[in-house]
């Protein structure tokens, strides 16, 4: 057990170092801007006086390392500065949208994770049959499709032809939970299609891998039914890779929402990021980029820690 804790601490340290480097990259990236933020935002027609005043306001007259420390300190305290586009505090813009993004990603995970694991087990159970081939081909095509293609097909089917669901997923804070779920069902389904394909393939591979081991053969020779072998013998042992797959795909999900949010005009962090990139609203871009990265790295960290904990080999190893 001591080994595992040691491994986990090392992994957490590595993630913190990565986040630190990324915050540096994000900060330096903006520093490298030809001219500086003040010139870019105010444009060429601005008088030297306004540029100077604006520079003071953004504290651009201080040396870079002092500004970096101040920026990071403020970020940790939840103060992300003001948006350049509409002067409102970035924190205020981001918090509601980030919770919306997490809501969409969470709903998708609720649908996709059980579905993918079930399909993966079934595909492993009926491997090399017609069912397996159909599932494999379908998921492979979903992986090759761009997200917006899946999204527009779903819109064309469910909201234009059948008129079941809205094609625009506008939600506001006063909506009831049931109404919210109804509104975001189409974007959640789109994401489900994309994520399930990855997860299901990897689950299938993990279980087939375990099925090739000696104790499964032993169980087969003893005459235990195949379904029982899969549920009692194969699945617990393939739990570690499966958990890893799920967590990595959730990390992908948090980032993958960007395009789906734009298609469905969903008020999430991804859409805000894209809008701000187009407007070159750098404080918003910096803050939302860093939040996305931290979430992504955090979920990847979770994936590694969980698979370390659920791997009996690692729990007992001596290194």
């Amino acid at each position: 057990m001591k080994n595992v804790i040691c491994h986990i601490l090392k992994r957490i340290g590595a993630s913190l170092a990565t986040i630190f480097v990324i915050s540096l990259i994000i900060f330096i990236g903006v520093e490298l801007l030809p001219g500086d933020v003040a010139d870019t935002v105010l444009g060429q027609s601005a008088t030297p006086e306004t540029v100077e005043a604006f520079r003071k306001e953004l504290k651009l007259d201080l040396p870079p390392h002092i500004r970096y420390v101040a920026w990071l300190k403020n970020f940790v305290q939840g103060d992300f500065g003001n948006s350049l586009a509409n002067k409102r505090p970035v924190a205020e813009l981001i918090s509601w949208r980030f919770s919306n993004t997490l809501f969409l990603a969470g709903t998708t995970a609720l649908i996709a994770v059980p579905l993918a694991i079930l399909l993966g087990i079934l595909a492993a159970f009926y491997r090399n049959t017609l069912y397996d081939k159909v599932i494999s081909t379908t998921t492979l095509s979903f992986i090759s499709f761009p997200e917006f293609f899946v999204a527009y097909i779903l819109i064309a089917l469910f909201s234009v032809k059948m008129e079941l669901f809205p094609s625009i997923a506008m939600i506001d804070p006063h909506m009831g939970l049931g109404r919210k779920f109804y509104t975001i069902l189409l974007p959640a389904l789109t994401l489900t299609c994309v994520v399930t394909a990855h997860m299901m393939r990897q689950t299938r591979a993990a279980i087939i891998n375990v099925l090739a081991s000696a104790y499964i053969e032993m169980a087969e020779i003893k005459g235990i039914r195949r379904l029982r072998i899969i549920i009692h013998h194969a699945f617990p042992n393939s739990l570690s890779p499966v958990i890893n797959v799920v967590a990595v795909n959730l990390a992908y999900l948090v980032v993958g929402v960007v395009i789906v949010e734009v298609v469905f005009v969903y008020p999430g962090l991804g859409q805000l990021l894209v809008d701000s990139v187009a407007k070159r609203d750098l404080p918003v871009v910096q803050a939302s980029g860093l939040i996305f990265s931290i979430t992504y790295i955090g979920l990847n960290l979770l994936a590694d820690v969980l698979s370390m904990l659920s791997n009996p080999k690692l729990r007992q190893s001596q290194f």
Binding site: I22, E147, V258, V274
Partner: protein, 272 residues
């Protein structure tokens, strides 16, 4: 080569057909397209007719013409980017494997950091600072994608590097570049070729996604991702114009994937 093609499974042949078709359309775009790339020739979102094979787009340009030129712009850009990414990535990967020591450590840790950063977010941040132009787009995506190529080519070169013939070349006193060009590269080529297909798919989808977000290839240049974006409004009126460029993107990616699958199957030996 021909006998290899004769043995290929049906899926690989279909894939090859799809890719060839797209390439031919891209190369001969000006001959195939009935109108000019940016000419407004009809009404907004006209339906399919003898005059407009696929109807017209959101400002009345012929959609078929835009699709043909879009093939040219999108595929060429993705191809150049993938080629550049392979040049960066494999060169650095080979150098890291052959040199080893602190160069390898430094490069690998740097690449680890870039890879732990979600690609789309990284690209968006760079584009927000530098603005979106075609050279920026190519370099950004090539840089981000070369991290994956680096990983693979370093691993492949590590295996080759311990072979006797590399040792002999070293003892003979050959320099770094000679070893990379004459010993590593020829032996690393087969696994890297299959990877090229995969990376092309990824880059192609990535550029399409960025264009769809309005941050990739800028109008009035035709490209498939941007065309989906421009015509997105049509879908709520029950006009399926945006599905045509989106479908074309999916079609080409599936085609390339079919070939890659066959390649991977060949290079993995006969496991079934």
């Amino acid at each position: 080569m021909l006998s290899l093609l004769r043995q290929s499974p049906l899926s690989a042949r279909i894939g090859l057909g799809i890719v060839l078709f797209n390439c031919l359309v891209a190369v001969f775009a000006p001959l195939i397209a009935p109108y000019e790339e940016t000419a407004v020739v009809g009404d907004v979102w006209e339906t399919v007719s003898a005059q407009f094979f696929l109807g017209t787009d959101h400002i009345g340009r012929d959609l078929f013409t835009r699709m043909v030129y879009g093939a040219r712009n999108t595929i060429a850009l993705a191809f150049i980017t993938t080629a550049l990414s392979f040049m960066f990535g494999s060169l650095l990967g080979f150098v890291a494997a052959v040199k080893g020591g602190w160069i390898d450590q430094l490069l690998s840790r740097l690449i680890d950091v870039i890879m732990s950063f979600p690609t789309l977010i990284f690209a968006l941040m760079i584009l927000s600072v530098l603005g979106s132009s075609i050279p920026t787009l190519i370099f950004t995506i090539a840089l981000l994608d070369s991290t994956r190529v680096y990983r693979l080519s370093r691993a492949v070169a590590m295996d080759i590097e311990v072979m006797e013939f590399v040792e002999v070349a070293r003892l003979r006193g050959e320099g770094l570049w000679w070893i990379i060009r004459h010993e590593i590269l020829p032996n690393a080529l087969p696994p890297l070729t299959a990877e090229f297909g995969l990376r092309f798919c990824f880059v192609f989808l990535f550029i399409a996604s960025l264009s769809f977000l309005g941050l990739g290839i800028q109008p009035p240049l035709a490209d498939w991702g941007g065309m989906v974006r421009e015509n997105a409004g049509a879908i709520t009126f029950g006009i399926f114009t945006p599905l045509i460029p989106a479908g074309a993107i999916a079609f080409l990616t599936v085609g390339v994937n079919m070939i890659v699958d066959w390649f991977l199957h060949l290079s993995s030996g006969l496991h079934e």
